[in-house]
């Protein structure tokens, strides 16, 4: 059952298998039908499953998500695509104030099993609004799960798990690595949500990164003369702090690497939790290497904006030498 896939092919495979697995699953969004999505994530699915289940919608993000809430309340399992995460904000109200609240509002009578997919993140020289990392906004919308894969296998397994979940999920796909590399993907492999992945073990410092930044973390760990443990939370929220804290207790040093701006980025929450639960184990303050506190620039400047392995190495050096 295992085959070579890149990240976007893994998305496609997960959608295909969930459409097959559960007849209530609907895959839809702008250009998702005949066109197979602008990144081809739903390529071939309309032919396979028909226009009732895989379809293109009018161009309106709030409409896509708000009707998804309604379809979910009526027993469907919608998997809408928002073309780029920068357009999620048009649907933010429906996501935060409705999708995330129906279970609470109805004391468990109603639920919204909807998985909202959106390509996110920078580094691909795209237009304005096409390169943001909005995970913190959704991590502050209690009732949601925020999931970010970093490998084809995780993409496949986490997406299937997200779709099967009876809660709403914002599933952010790191589009910079959509086609960056392939690996063997086992279509039988089960992955738990809310369970971080130890990307590589190490004893000198813990480096926490997700999405496309996991590759940058790996590069930096290679370059530096130290034994770095890399932790990928995979589910940003609710967070597996246990794995992170355990790792930090072991290494005594922690650095968070993310694309989003530093202030109120999810790294701030991780640093706080480490302080609350492991301060006596720390040899140095928690370090953050992130995007700067500016709007993601038009792409001539994006190489300065995007955290890279050089900045990560410098951060690790400061952390280790403290």
């Amino acid at each position: 059952m295992s085959e070579e896939m890149n990240v976007v092919e893994a998305v496609n495979a997960a959608l295909e298998d969930e459409l097959e697995n559960d007849e209530d699953v609907l895959v839809y969004g702008e250009d998702v039908g005949e066109d197979g999505g602008v990144f081809r994530a739903s390529e071939g699915l309309q032919e396979e499953f028909g226009r009732e289940r895989v379809f293109s919608t009018p161009l309106a993000e709030s409409g896509i998500i708000g009707t998804g809430v309604g379809m979910a309340l009526k027993g469907m399992r919608p998997v809408p695509e928002i073309q780029f995460s920068g357009f999620l904000y048009l649907a933010f109200h429906q996501i935060k104030e409705h999708a995330a609240r129906f279970r609470m509002r109805s004391r468990g009578d109603l639920e919204v099993p909807m998985t909202i997919r959106a390509p996110y993140g920078g580094g691909i020289s795209a237009l304005e609004h096409h390169q943001e990392s909005p995970e913190s906004f959704f991590a502050h919308a209690e009732g949601l799960h925020v999931v970010i894969p970093s490998t084809p296998q995780d993409t496949y397994s986490l997406l299937r798990k997200s779709i099967q979940l009876d809660d709403p999920v914002v599933f952010l796909e790191p589009k910079q690595i959509y086609r960056a590399f392939k690996e063997e993907v086992d279509r039988e492999k089960d992955v738990e949500l809310e369970k971080a992945r130890i990307v590589q073990e190490g004893s000198d410092a813990t480096l926490i990164a997700w999405g496309a930044m996991v590759r940058v973390a790996e590069e930096a760990a290679q370059e530096i003369d130290a034994d770095i443990e890399i932790v990928d939370p995979r589910t940003i929220y609710p967070t597996d702090f246990e794995t992170i804290i355990d790792s930090v207790k072991k290494t005594g040093r922690a650095m968070v690497l993310h694309e989003a701006p530093k202030t109120s980025g999810f790294g701030a929450e991780i640093a706080s939790r480490i302080n609350e639960e492991a301060i006596l184990d720390l040899e140095a303050p928690v370090k953050r290497v992130t995007g700067p506190d500016v709007p993601y620039p038009l792409y001539r400047l994006e190489d300065y904006y995007m955290p890279n392995s050089e900045r990560a190495v410098e951060g690790l050096e400061e952390l280790l030498e403290f």
């Binding site: 609907l26 009732e52 919608t57 009018p58 309106a60 709030s62 409409g63 998500i65 708000g66 009707t67 998804g68 809430v69 309604g70 379809m71 979910a72 309340l73 009526k74 027993g75 469907m76 109200h93 429906q94 104030e97 409705h98 129906f102 279970r103 609470m104 509002r105 109805s106 004391r107 468990g108 009578d109 109603l110 639920e111 209690e142 009732g143 799960h145 979940l165 009876d166 809660d167 809310e194 609710p238 967070t239 597996d240 702090f241 246990e242």
Partner: protein, 353 residues
């Protein structure tokens, strides 16, 4: 230059009471007329009671529906149990007509979400204006996909027709053949803003036209017009043809108990609409048609008693447990939330009562 008409449309209005068709057979039995009247009285009494409970501090804020009973109760009368209802926040009369337990409705107004449990095919109250129409559109789309022959009836106000979500709802429902009746209760005001400054549109029903779906206007203070209009609209909706249904009505009270409508409208205008009070008109109609009876005359007292009983039950009901705040956020409580819940339990002694 070639210039020709490529589209034209009209919006019709349905009126029955005080017209020459008044005495026709409307497909409503005498028993049903009596029941409709009773439900209207019950809803009116609920409104009055909720108002006084707010003044007494038992309810923090209440949104009255006085004057809109015909629009809500007439609409529900045309529905079946299999149909779904998507209300906004002023649809207490509609909930009553859908047989939601009175004490539960009070309980929710008293700030306990447990009052919104067990609503079957009816959604809980939606407060952000107009956003619930998309849920209705989605439910209507799902009904089409599930090949059902039921429909979903949503309620929204005149102010919400300015919202993007309202228009996206009509558009999606039109494109995907949603089983929708989008009721717009045009009660003339969005808090302080009168309808003529909300929109340049002559009617709200015509908002449908730009989305390629049907629109109809009815006298929303005429319960028979509402019922007949809704029966037509529901027939279309069940068939995958969505309808915008504008009920022309008037909010006889303030927007909510926090509002003071004397700041933006004059007494004269309100008095004029009091003449068109739907309850008053329906009572006159029943008398004219010899349906009126001593039993109906006596129902006011019975209604008052039932409302008092229900509100007392809600007042006496146990407060929700502190823990419930944590229990309905996720289907399975995440580890980090379990820990936080424990911290709160420790602080509050493990027993919030």
């Amino acid at each position: 230059m070639v210039r020709k008409e490529v589209h034209s449309s009209t919006i019709e209005k349905i009126e029955i009471l005080d017209t020459e068709d008044e005495s026709e057979d409307h497909g409503i039995s005498d028993e049903e007329y009596e029941q409709l009247y009773k439900t209207m009285v019950l809803a009116r009494k609920f409104d009055e009671r909720a108002f006084s409970l707010q003044r007494r501090g038992e309810i923090s804020t209440y949104a009255p529906h006085k004057g809109q009973e015909a629009a809500q109760i007439g609409a529900v009368f045309a529905m079946t149990d299999d149909d779904w209802m998507v209300p906004s926040f002023r649809e207490t009369a509609a909930y009553i007509a859908r047989d939601a337990p009175l004490d539960k409705i009070f309980q929710r107004w008293m700030g306990d979400a447990n009052g919104q449990r067990g609503l079957e095919n009816d959604l809980p109250v939606a407060i952000p204006v107009g956003t619930q129409n998309l849920h209705a559109a989605g439910i209507g789309m799902a009904m089409e996909k599930q090949e059902e022959d039921n429909a979903v009836v949503s309620f929204t106000g005149d102010g919400s027709t300015s919202q993007g979500d309202f228009h996206e709802s009509l558009n999606f429902s039109g494109v995907f053949s949603g089983h929708n009746v989008f009721i717009v209760q045009n009660n003339q005001y969005a808090i302080s803003l009168p309808i003529e400054r909300q929109t340049k549109s002559e009617t709200l029903a015509q908002k449908a036209i730009g989305h390629g779906i049907d629109g109809i206007q009815v006298d929303g203070n005429d319960i028979i017009a509402v019922i007949k209009g809704m029966r037509e609209a529901l027939e279309k909706a069940r068939n995958g043809e969505p309808v915008v249904f504008e009920a022309l009505t008037y909010r006889l009270e303030d927007h909510t108990t926090s509002d003071d409508s004397t700041r933006y409208r004059d007494e004269e205008e309100v008095e004029k609409w009091k003449e068109k009070d739907p309850l008053k008109r329906f009572r006159e109609y029943l008398k004219d048609q010899d349906i009126w009876s001593d039993e109906l005359e006596a129902f006011e007292d019975e209604a008052e008693e039932r409302i008092n009983e229900a509100s007392n039950e809600a007042i006496d009901a146990d407060d929700p447990d502190m823990e419930e705040m944590f229990d309905y956020v996720y289907k399975d409580m995440p580890e980090m939330l379990k820990k936080e819940k424990e911290q709160f339990q420790d602080f509050y002694g493990g027993d919030s009562k």
